[in-house]
C-alpha cells in the first residue's frame, strides 16, 4: 500500500516535471519577462552603473543568442573564412563590443514605458514589435526570435527598422573581403582598447 502511494507520488512528480520541461515558453513571454526584469533592474537606485550593467547582462544572456548573432554578422560567406580560434575570438570581441555599447545606453532607458504589439510568426521565427516612449517620440524595437531546441532565443534586434546584425554585417564583411579576417579582429581589439582608456 505504502509502496504504491510512493510510486504514485513519484509518478505524479515525474509527470509534472516532464510537463514543465516539455512546455516551451512562448516567444512573447520570453521577451516580455526579460524586458520587465531589465526595467526593474534599471530602477534599482542603490546599484552603481557598473553593477546595474552586470545585472542586466545576467538577465539578458540566457535569452539572447550572442554567439549566433556574432556568426550571423559575418554570414555564410565570411564566417568559414575564420579558423576556429579566430571564430572564438571574434565571438568574444563582438560580445564585448555589444556590452560596451549597451553600457553607455543603460541610463538613457530608465523610466521609459514599453508597449508591445502582438507577436507575429514569420516562417519558423517569431517577430515581436515593441515601442519605447521616449520624450514624446516612439522608438520602435523589433525582437526577432528563433527556436533553439525547446526555447525561443533572440537572434536580432531592429531598432527604428535598423537591424543590428545587418548593420554590423555591412561593416564587417568589407573588411574581411578587402583585407583579411585578422584585420577585422585587429580593428575590433583596437576599438575595445580605445574605449577602455576613456
Amino acid at each position: 500500500m505504502m509502496k504504491k502511494t510512493i510510486a504514485g507520488v513519484l509518478a505524479a512528480l515525474l509527470f509534472a516535471v516532464s510537463a514543465a520541461v516539455g512546455e516551451t515558453v512562448p516567444a512573447e513571454t520570453v521577451v516580455k519577462t526579460m524586458v520587465d526584469r531589465v526595467l526593474a533592474a534599471l530602477e534599482r537606485k542603490n546599484l552603481s552603473a557598473e553593477a546595474k550593467l552586470d545585472a542586466i547582462i545576467e538577465i539578458i544572456t540566457p535569452d539572447c543568442d550572442f554567439p549566433l548573432m556574432a556568426k550571423l554578422t559575418l554570414g555564410a560567406a565570411c564566417w568559414p573564412q575564420l579558423n576556429e580560434t579566430q571564430q572564438q575570438e571574434f565571438t568574444d570581441l563582438f560580445v564585448k563590443k555589444l556590452r560596451k555599447v549597451y553600457a553607455k545606453q543603460v541610463d538613457n532607458f530608465s523610466g521609459e514605458t514599453v508597449v508591445f504589439e502582438k507577436a507575429r510568426a514569420v516562417g519558423n521565427k517569431v517577430h515581436l514589435m515593441s515601442y519605447v516612449l521616449s520624450k514624446g517620440e516612439r522608438i520602435s524595437i523589433l525582437y526577432k526570435l528563433y527556436r533553439s531546441g525547446d526555447v525561443w532565443k533572440i537572434y536580432d534586434l531592429e531598432i527604428q527598422d535598423v537591424s543590428l546584425v545587418s548593420s554590423y554585417r555591412a561593416q564587417f564583411v568589407p573588411v574581411i573581403r578587402d583585407r583579411s579576417p585578422e584585420a577585422l579582429l585587429q580593428e575590433l581589439r583596437a576599438g575595445l582598447k580605445e574605449n577602455n582608456t576613456n
Binding site: G136, Y146, S163
Partner: protein
C-alpha cells in the same frame, strides 16, 4: 545470383556513401541554413553593400558633417537645453512636425494612400486645435492616431524609382540621389519655406534643428562609438530605414 545481389548491394553502399559525402561537402552549417539569406536579402544590408560610387566624396562630406555636428550643432543644443525645460522642447518639436502636414498629405495622395492622407489630416486638425497649434499630441495620446510618414522620396519609390547612388548631403547627412532631389518639392510644401526674408526662414530652420538635437544629445556619439566604420554604419542605417518604409 548471390554474387549479383552482393554486387548490387555494393553499388548501393557506394551510392549511399557518395550521396552522404556530397551532402556533407558544402559545409552545411545548420545555423546559416536556418537563417538562409535573411540578412543578405535585406537589399541595403546585403553582402554587396549600398551602391556608393562616390564613396570618397561621401566620406569627406561625412567627416565635415561629423565635425560640424559635434563642435557646433550639438554644443549649441546643449546650451539651449540647459536653459529650456524638456517639456517645452518636446512641444516645439511637435509644433514643427505638425507643420509638415502638407508634405505628408500631398505625398500620401500622390501615392494613392488616401487612408494615410486621412489619418494625417485628422491628426493635423486635432493637434492644431485641441493640441494648441501642435504643441501637444492629443491625436496620438487620446485618439490613438499614429503618425504615418510620407515624403517625395517615398512617393518616387512607390512609382518604382530606385534610390540610385548614395549621397551624403552637407549638414543633412546620408541620403541617396532620389531622396536628395526629393527635398526640393518637399521644401515647397513646408510653410517654414515661405517665411519672408529668407534669413528669417533659415533662422527658423536652424532653430528647428537645434531643438531636435537638444532632445537626442549624445546619441550620435554613442552610435558612432558602437560602429566599426561610422560612415558605413550611418549610410547603411539610412538605406535600411528607407527600404523598410518603402516596403510598408
Amino acid at each position: 545470383m548471390r554474387n549479383r545481389v552482393k554486387c548490387f548491394r555494393g553499388g548501393y553502399l557506394i551510392c549511399m556513401l557518395a550521396l552522404s559525402l556530397a551532402a556533407a561537402e558544402p559545409s552545411a552549417d545548420p545555423d546559416f541554413e536556418l537563417f538562409g539569406d535573411e540578412f543578405a536579402a535585406a537589399g541595403a544590408a546585403a553582402d554587396t553593400p549600398v551602391y556608393d560610387p562616390l564613396i570618397a566624396l561621401n566620406r569627406a562630406i561625412f567627416k565635415v558633417n561629423d565635425f560640424v555636428y559635434l563642435k557646433v550643432i550639438e554644443p549649441v543644443a546643449r546650451g539651449y537645453a540647459s536653459v529650456t525645460p524638456e517639456g517645452a522642447r518636446i512641444g516645439v518639436r511637435r509644433f514643427f512636425n505638425n507643420l509638415g502636414w502638407p508634405v505628408r498629405v500631398v505625398n500620401h495622395c500622390l501615392q494613392g494612400r488616401f487612408r494615410g492622407a486621412g489619418t494625417e489630416t485628422k491628426r493635423f486638425a486635432i493637434n492644431t486645435t485641441v493640441g494648441v497649434l501642435g504643441f501637444r499630441d492629443p491625436a496620438l495620446n487620446r485618439y490613438n492616431l499614429e503618425p504615418i510618414p510620407a515624403d517625395f522620396g517615398l512617393t518616387l519609390a512607390s512609382y518604382g524609382i530606385g534610390g540610385g547612388p548614395a549621397i551624403t548631403l552637407p549638414l543633412l547627412g546620408p541620403s541617396n540621389l532620389r531622396d536628395a532631389l526629393s527635398k526640393f518639392p518637399d521644401h515647397f510644401l513646408n510653410p517654414v519655406s515661405y517665411i519672408d526674408p529668407w534669413q528669417a526662414s533659415a533662422g527658423v530652420r536652424i532653430y528647428e534643428v537645434e531643438n531636435g538635437t537638444s532632445l537626442r544629445l549624445g546619441q550620435y556619439g554613442e552610435l558612432k562609438e558602437a560602429a566599426l566604420d561610422p560612415y558605413v554604419f550611418f549610410r547603411d542605417a539610412y538605406a535600411q530605414n528607407r527600404d523598410k518604409r518603402i516596403g510598408d
